[in-house]
């Protein structure tokens, strides 16, 4: 029996397919979600309207969504740049903590009177460096002994988490505020706090978007990106062409770690305003991996995907207020991720019904 469905790889993927498929997948997810909402006894239309109002309707909602998207864009970029070279950095979460630790150290150590631009730049640089070095702990074994970076980066997350918890809960470290009865971080001075744009939205969003554009340019328009894309496609062809796969593994993972760390800088400086382990451990690093997959590792795709995921998350609390379980929101989020990634198959392949030609089948049977 031959399958009646014919699958052919597409030679060229036009923009209609590249954008149409994810949008179609999104529609499909919302449709499935509507059915689930209806089964759960909710009005899907009311639910979707509430979601839209809470996350995307009006500047107040929009700024809240963008605030949540800011660190996601950065961790999404961190995962995306590594994916471009088929290196899997699962350590964004830990690198983010290191960025937060590094940046808060600078913010607390420099005199409070340090001018804000200088203070913030120093925090960004030190935070990024901390994340890059943390990523190198996995990159060096990968480059020299081919140790699986998925395992090493994943494990380093737990170490980074323990380190941050120890700094605040387990020791009288420089970061911990001794005056607070409940252990917490020292509050950052005013000049170490990223200025707010509106409500919780701060200038971190600008850093994130600039980083996305810069990364896109780096990957698509420079000879450095040329090498990354070649290695990602075929490391053997890259070596043949004289590229150093080892060196690129180190630099790409360091860059990836730095980007995830900047998310940590942005959070600690713009949101928590001190090293607060509980507020910082919201799985932004892990969600960034989802963002990168859905955005197909395209830095420019990371921005809308992050905003979209942030929108779903911000609408969650409002949905609960109209009596919808938070689990349903998580379910919807999972559905969208699943359909959009499954949609990838339709982007690279064209699927059609095979012609059912009786004579062709007969000759084949005879042969």
């Amino acid at each position: 029996m031959r399958s009646p469905i014919r699958v052919m790889p597409r030679g060229v993927t036009g923009p209609s397919v590249r954008f149409g498929v994810p949008v179609g997948a999104l529609g499909f997810a919302l449709l499935l979600g509507a059915i689930i909402l209806a089964i759960a006894g909710n009005d899907p239309i009311e639910a979707y309207r509430t979601m839209f109002d809470a996350s995307l309707n009006g500047w107040k909602s929009q700024s809240r969504t963008l605030a949540l998207a800011t660190p996601l864009i950065l961790t999404g970029l961190a995962a995306a740049v590594a994916f471009q070279m088929r290196v899997y950095n699962i350590g964004g979460e830990g690198q983010l903590y290191l960025g937060a630790i590094g940046a808060s150290w600078v913010g607390l150590a420099l005199p409070a009177s340090t001018p804000m631009p200088l203070m913030l730049s120093a925090m960004l640089i030190v935070g990024a460096l901390a994340g890059a070095l943390w990523a190198l702990l996995a990159a060096i074994p990968k480059a020299y002994f081919n140790a699986d970076e998925i395992i090493t980066t994943l494990m380093l997350n737990f170490i980074a988490l323990s380190l941050m918890n120890w700094l605040i809960f387990g020791s009288r470290s420089f970061w911990r505020d001794p005056r607070r009865p409940v252990p917490g971080g020292k509050r950052l001075p005013e000049n170490a706090v990223m200025p707010s744009i509106s409500g919780r939205l701060h200038i971190g969003i600008i850093i994130a978007v600039v980083a996305a554009v810069f990364l896109w340019w780096l990957l698509r328009k420079t000879s450095w990106g040329f090498q990354i894309r070649t290695i990602g496609d075929s490391p053997r062809a890259a070596s043949y062409a004289g590229m150093s796969v080892r060196l690129k593994t180190l630099t790409v993972l360091a860059l990836s770690g730095a980007l995830a760390a900047i998310a940590g800088v942005s959070e600690v400086s713009g949101v928590t305003k001190g090293l607060e382990p509980v507020a910082l451990t919201t799985n932004i690093g892990f969600t960034g991996i989802i963002v990168a997959v859905v955005a197909r590792s395209n830095p420019l795709g990371v921005v809308p995907v992050s905003i979209f995921l942030a929108a779903i998350a911000t609408s969650g609390s409002r949905l609960q207020s109209i009596g919808i379980n938070v689990e349903v929101v998580l379910l919807l989020q999972g559905l969208i991720f699943l359909t959009v990634t499954a949609g990838e198959f339709f982007v690279t392949n064209s699927v059609s019904l095979a012609r059912t030609d009786a004579t062709a089948t007969e000759t084949e049977a005879a042969a």
């Binding site: 790889p9 030679g11 060229v12 993927t13 328009k221 420079t222 000879s223 450095w224 990106g225 040329f226 090498q227 894309r229 070649t230 496609d233 075929s234 053997r236 062809a237 890259a238 070596s239 043949y240 062409a241 004289g242 042969a367």
Partner: protein, 513 residues
């Protein structure tokens, strides 16, 4: 010994995409004989074996065992009919024991319930045939020779009466080879029949009863080993027509200074043996030097060491006067080496990226394709369009991944890129393999054209092609250059013998080069 025909193949044809890999092949295997199956790479040996072992279904023709026509639906089915194949690359589960591997995939009803029982049966079989191996050992603990014994035991355990051994000695050291053939003689003495697929003349002559030679998918003859000579078999393998149709390109042209010189180059192989052993030769401007040899005799390692992808353990490599022994691929290319690798997709090209990316794979970081690290897409596209036209590369669409282009166009694209670079010598490995006639001819024309101004070193498994194109033919066997023939003194019989490891290696070869 039973001399009746055990396995009979008549008119067997198997095509892939309309191209026959074996074409109307007849083949007889008698009971209790060791039958050598010889042929060049691509002659159809593997295809024939795969049909016999039930992996492929033939397009036409019959296979009969003991006079009964059979049609195998699967390797399992072939095994039920007593045909077992031992592949060159073992199919064993490393973490399982010998006994577990032996019964792996067998139906419950076909095998004893208890592993203890299997172990004792395996031990008995091992004893009976002299295939000593501990049934409770895990595969990863065993040497290559022992693993091969497990593969053979696996087939014997399933009741194989006809064993097909695919280049069994390729992975073995000399001592293990002797032990293997002792076991094979025991099997044959007990009435089993063995098909020995091989490239090596010496062992085929020493151990087989009869020999069948395949050449380009056709049976080039079956002979009784005792009545033939290595020279005759070599002629059957490689043909003797090449000399007649040889286009002598060696018309008057100037031979210039050396553009590629190797002196005493040795390369460590993957198993500790020397993959390339003390190779010395020179390619001069205006010369095509062809390297003939059966695949797996160190050609790949030799290519890679010249291209700077490997470092030799001994010796020096010079390209156009620059020492490139440890230069690495980039500096070697800059010194003047253009390299068309054997593996087009994956090494020569990044398969998932578009043509324009691949066209500038080696020049992306230089002006005009990039300035200060920033790529110029207009310039890259200009280069692509220029080369696509010049080299007649067809089938590209903007943004399409190159892996969807045909082999001939891929090869033209690689040639276009390599020849567009400033270079002094072209290294081309199997440049026409898998190409249709027209594309192969176009590729050859480019190579010949190169000779006018530069030097060419070409590797090919197609002896005809080598002889047709080269001013000097080198023969490679087991990592050594064992023969050197100038174009006016080609001895095809001798080349064939040298390629299969017999014949007299010319002691003066190294000196003459």
């Amino acid at each position: 010994m039973n001399s009746a025909t055990h396995l009979e193949v008549r008119n067997l044809t198997k095509s892939f995409y309309g191209v026959p890999a074996i074409d109307a092949v007849d083949f007889d295997l008698r009971g209790g004989e060791i039958h050598g199956l010889l042929g060049e790479n691509g002659a159809g040996k593997s295809t024939l074996c795969s049909v016999l072992s039930g992996l492929y279904k033939p397009n036409s023709g019959t296979v009969s065992i003991d006079g009964q026509a059979v049609q195998f639906r699967s390797p399992q089915d072939a095994s039920n009919h007593g045909v077992g194949m031992v592949y060159q690359h073992f199919r064993l589960v490393d973490s399982f024991t010998v006994a577990q591997n032996v019964v792996l995939g067998m139906h419950k009803r076909q095998r004893p319930r208890s592993m203890r029982q299997v172990e004792s049966m395996v031990a008995d079989l091992a004893e009976e045939f002299g295939l000593h191996v501990n049934p409770t050992a895990s595969i990863w603990q065993l040497s290559v020779g022992e693993q091969q014994r497990v593969e053979i035991l696996k087939q014997l355990f399933r009741g194989a009466r006809i064993l097909i051994l695919d280049e069994p000695t390729a992975v073995l050291a000399a001592q293990e080879t002797d032990r293997l053939f002792e076991a094979v003689s025991t099997m044959v003495a007990k009435g089993h029949s063995v098909v020995l697929v091989s490239h090596k003349m010496a062992e085929t002559m020493a151990y087989t009863d009869r020999i069948t030679v395949l050449r380009r998918g056709v049976n080039a003859g079956s002979v009784t080993t005792a009545d033939t000579t290595p020279a005759e078999v070599a002629r059957m393998m490689f043909g003797d027509s090449a000399a007649a149709e040889r286009t002598n390109f060696a018309t008057a042209h100037d031979i210039g200074e050396p553009v590629l010189s190797l002196s005493g180059v040795s390369v460590q192989g993957d198993h500790g043996l020397m993959a390339v052993d003390d190779a010395s030769f020179t390619v001069r401007r205006g010369q095509v030097v062809g390297v003939a040899g059966v695949a797996g005799n160190g050609q790949r390692e030799l290519q890679e060491v010249i291209a700077g992808l490997r470092t030799p353990v001994n010796g020096t490599i010079e390209i156009a006067g620059t020492d490139c022994t440890t230069a690495g691929p980039k500096k070697t290319a800059q010194a003047g080496l253009a390299y068309v690798p054997e593996d087009r997709l994956g090494v020569g090209l990044a398969p998932g990226l578009p043509l324009e990316h691949n066209i500038v794979l080696k020049s992306y970081d230089r002006s005009p394709h990039s300035r200060r690290g920033v790529l110029s897409n207009t310039e890259i596209e200009k280069t692509m369009n220029k080369l696509v036209e010049k080299f007649d590369v067809r089938g590209n669409r903007s943004g399409m991944r190159v892996s969807l282009m045909s082999g001939g166009n891929l090869q033209k694209a690689i040639l276009a890129r390599e020849l567009n670079e400033d270079h002094q010598v072209l290294l081309a490995a199997a440049p026409t393999r898998g190409l249709d006639m027209a594309a192969a001819e176009a590729v050859r024309a480019h190579i010949i054209e190169e000779r006018a101004k530069r030097g060419v070193l070409v590797f090919s498994e197609d002896l005809d092609e080598i002889v047709k194109m080269s001013d000097v033919v080198l023969v490679m066997f087991k990592g050594r250059i064992v023969g050197s023939f100038p174009s006016d003194d080609i001895d095809l019989d001798e080349i064939g013998l040298l390629m299969t490891g017999s014949g007299t290696p010319d002691p003066a070869v190294q000196a003459r080069l």
